[in-house]
Symmetry: C2
Subunit: 167 residues, 2 copies
């Protein structure tokens, strides 16, 4: 395997999402072992004006899904943010893995020079594909992924960096 | 600029470390405005058995520095972990930026197939350079970077994702 836009997007997201599933499993098991409802974790926040765990997972999913779609120049499927339970969030992450696996590496080839526009509430960001991956897709993905991990860790779930990284 | 091992390591670390400096500045200013000693932030933790902010910054620095060195097949300089104040931590991040800027892109070219070994306490990890970047360097770097951000955010510092991402 050589370096490519696909290797540096799909290759990063796939492993990280698999580890996220593992960490979520440990969160659910921990709630059971400590005899509290796992919805406490799902609704937990690191600060009153931060997004709760459920939204962190949905956004981790969205940054993987939408980034792969944009690099492949296809419209990303819309995943409705209906999840309110850990099981539903696990299914969301699995659906995200299926989607990113469905994008052929060929479709992402050469995307480093592709023009990518991101419409925000108040402005539109314009990137070349390489910059999009370096400064938008990867940082945003890890921002929400690590925050989800930190939420569980903060709440006493028995996870460590090896659970986050794998192997 | 085309995709390369240098673009996907240096190009990610440089922007992220610059934003980290910005976030640290806001942390220091916030402590001043709320009239508490910034060392409270420097020593804060998200859980009693997690590393404090100072160590999160040192590790963010180490993963950028050591990863660039390994990809360039040179010995990384050892940065002693002596920092106990926000000013010293800011200097550490600036020193890290200087170091990663000192590695020529040419030295990293072709590192995707380089053998890289990481000695841990209890075992040695072996990677090809591409895998090292995908599964070790980037996830570890963001793990500590986002945790440092979350520590400030949890403690009420007025930062948001735009401070983390920049632009």
């Amino acid at each position: 395997m050589q370096i490519s836009m696909h290797a540096m997007s799909h290759g990063v997201f796939k492993k990280a999402l698999s580890q996220l599933l593992h960490v979520m499993d440990k969160g659910a098991a921990n709630a059971k072992a400590r005899n509290f409802d796992v919805s406490v974790l799902v609704n937990s926040r690191l600060a009153p004006d931060m997004l709760p765990f459920a939204r962190q997972i949905q956004l981790t999913s969205d940054f993987a899904k939408n980034s792969m779609a944009r690099l492949a120049a296809v419209d990303p499927p819309k995943f409705e943010d209906f999840e309110t339970t850990m099981d539903e969030l696990v299914a969301r992450v699995k659906k995200t893995l299926d989607y990113i696996d469905s994008i052929p590496a060929d479709a992402v080839a050469g995307s480093e020079t592709r023009d990518i526009k991101i419409a925000l509430r108040d402005r539109t960001l314009e990137f070349k594909g390489l910059e999009f991956l370096q400064l938008w897709a990867l940082p945003n993905f890890f921002f929400h992924h690590v925050t989800a991990y930190n939420l569980l860790r903060h709440n006493g779930v028995d996870i460590g960096k090896r659970d986050f990284l794998g192997r």
